[in-house]
């Protein structure tokens, strides 16, 4: 591929991959079975310069390749508050990736779709929350590939033999022990988000192991933990004893070694981490609710919709839910969203409300059950944020201010 026999785009991709591999000290390349591209979100002219060069060079992906969120909801383009001038390059970027052979999945949760990998599969994934989910919850193997390198891997079908592709690098090095909690500790969404935020900020580059986490209600809670850990830190893989596939026992998770450090997490640590997420006190008026960061799964929809119909918010406060287009299609085909417009439910696909202008109002407080949304949105959008459980968010939409109803 380096001598141009497979085309100019592949040569360019392989050259960058080779430089990158040298930079990370990989002695060789391995084959990958799939890729997930983070680079279709427009960050500036460089995003297009890179991809157009590959398109011009005849580039085509060599493995099944899914796409992460873009800057525009292509299915509900009326939601975008970008100017036409801003939309054009963002649209072109999403389209150019399709021209390279990428599938238009446009979701940050490819593990919830047909693109879900299997245990042990070597893949090259971008998107920080997808990386940690694939490694931790599924036991597939990827490093923290980002924009540019993810496409280089997809165009060559190769990745550096380094980092989390290798057994020896997947063992835990820092142990987090939940201590001081009642034996009846419930798996609340807030607990998983808080643990995620804490391991993210304290792990550094070491793989964290968590002991004492209650069995999650569903893998969506592990999704939330990973997303929080990948936002507050650089976690790409975590082990939860007795829960995640590479950690049936503590010894398995640690590779038979003692941890380099043991950190206890108690109820006060959890409470403090959660308190830091909200920028306003309880009782503050809210202007919107944002759910689905990462994209709402079918299971999350199934849990939310009955609650929504029950609570029946009627103050006109918009409830934005980000989700994958495949999930949305399923819900629409079933008629599951009928009548939800009355509660001001606004579905958003292909993108997310914290990284592109969609929210109608940026001057108030938005409530969310996503640690990732709460972490990034104030800096990105300038909004105030309140964090709560799903029930709290819906009850707050009904009340018009931050209230807490979840036990």
């Amino acid at each position: 591929m380096l001598n141009g026999e497979a085309g100019e785009a592949t040569r360019f991709a392989m050259q960058l991959l080779a430089s990158f591999s040298r930079a990370v000290g990989a002695p060789a390349l391995i084959d990958i079975t799939r890729a997930h591209i983070d680079g279709c979100l427009y960050h500036g002219q460089v995003s297009l310069d890179f991809v157009e060069r590959l398109v011009a060079g005849g580039g085509r992906v060599r493995v099944p390749t899914s796409l992460n969120v873009g800057a525009i909801d292509l299915i509900h383009p009326e939601l975008s508050r970008l100017t036409p001038g801003e939309q054009a390059p963002a649209r072109r970027l999403m389209k150019a990736h399709e021209e390279l052979g990428c599938q238009p999945s446009f979701t940050c949760a490819p593990y919830q779709t047909e693109f879900r990998p299997s245990f042990g599969e070597q893949i090259a994934w971008g998107e920080s929350n997808a990386i940690v989910f694939a490694n931790s919850v599924i036991g597939a193997r990827t490093n923290r590939y980002g924009d540019f390198i993810d496409l280089c891997c997809a165009l060559t079908g190769r990745a550096p033999a380094w980092g989390l592709h290798l057994d020896e690098n997947r063992h835990g090095r820092v142990l987090f022990r939940l201590a001081g909690f009642p034996a009846s500790l419930q798996p609340t969404d807030a607990l998983f988000v808080a643990v995620g935020l804490l391991i993210g900020s304290l792990s550094g580059e070491r793989v964290p192991v968590i002991e004492g986490l209650p069995a999650p209600r569903s893998e969506d809670q592990l999704k939330a933990l990973g997303a929080a850990a990948a936002s507050s830190g650089a976690v790409a893989l975590f082990h939860a004893i007795g829960i995640t596939p590479e950690a049936p026992t503590l010894s398995d998770a640690l590779g038979g070694r003692a941890p380099e450090q043991t950190i206890e997490l108690g109820p006060e640590d959890i409470a403090r981490a959660l308190k830091r997420l909200s920028t306003v006190p309880d009782g503050s008026p809210i202007t919107a609710v944002c759910l689905g960061t990462p994209h709402f799964s079918r299971a999350e929809w199934n849990r939310m919709l009955p609650l929504l119909r029950d609570i029946a918010p009627a103050r006109g406060i918009p409830i934005y839910v980000n989700t994958g287009r495949a999930t949305l299609q399923e819900l629409q085909d079933e008629g599951s969203l009928e009548g939800t417009k009355a509660f001001n439910l606004i579905t958003v696909t292909d993108t997310c409300t914290y990284l592109t202008p969609i929210l109608e109002r940026l001057d108030g407080t938005v409530m969310t059950n996503s640690g990732k949304w709460a972490h990034y949105a104030p800096g990105n959008l300038g909004v105030q944020v309140a964090f709560g459980e799903l029930e709290d968010c819906l009850a707050s939409a009904a009340a018009g201010r931050v209230v807490r109803v979840a036990r």
Binding site: Q15, S19, H43, G44, G146, F148, G204, E205, A234, Y376
Partner: protein
């Protein structure tokens, strides 16, 4: 001080030492080079033209694009010094160099002796070796 080179280049500029890792995505405004991360202690400071020194990388895997775009616009740092390698920032610098010929060296070494305001010189080659020297302390 001997360091490891991850992206080659030369730089000589004042250092800006961050106490916490910074995610370029969601953390830097490419138009101004300022730190916009809501939770970062150095929020408001500009990184433009300075040698950015920090413990490591953090957060979104889209930081590559943000770094490359900042380099393209001329608002990026002159170089980046980390105490642990970060492949995401590395590829951002490598792409900016491949597309635009502009180099932002990225090196890894101990950062304990570097202080904000120190004038630092970096020489990073493309075989993995680099040199980081304080030529005039603050």
């Amino acid at each position: 001080m001997i360091a490891q080179s991850y992206a080659a280049g030369e730089a000589e500029a004042p250092a800006l030492v961050l106490s916490e890792a910074l995610s370029f995505w969601g953390g830097i405004d490419v138009e101004t080079g300022r730190i916009i991360d809501h939770s970062h202690p150095d929020r408001g400071t500009s990184v433009t033209g300075l040698i950015l020194v920090m413990p490591g990388g953090r957060g979104s895997s889209s930081s590559s694009s943000v770094l490359a775009e900042a380099i393209r616009r001329g608002t990026g740092p002159a170089a980046i010094v980390l105490s642990i390698p970060d492949p995401i920032l590395t590829i951002g610098a490598l792409v900016a160099q491949a597309l635009y010929g502009v180099r932002c060296p990225i090196v890894v070494c101990s950062i304990d002796t570097l202080a904000t305001g120190d004038r630092v010189r970096i020489h990073a080659d493309d075989t993995g070796s680099a040199q980081v020297d304080t030529i005039a302390p603050r």
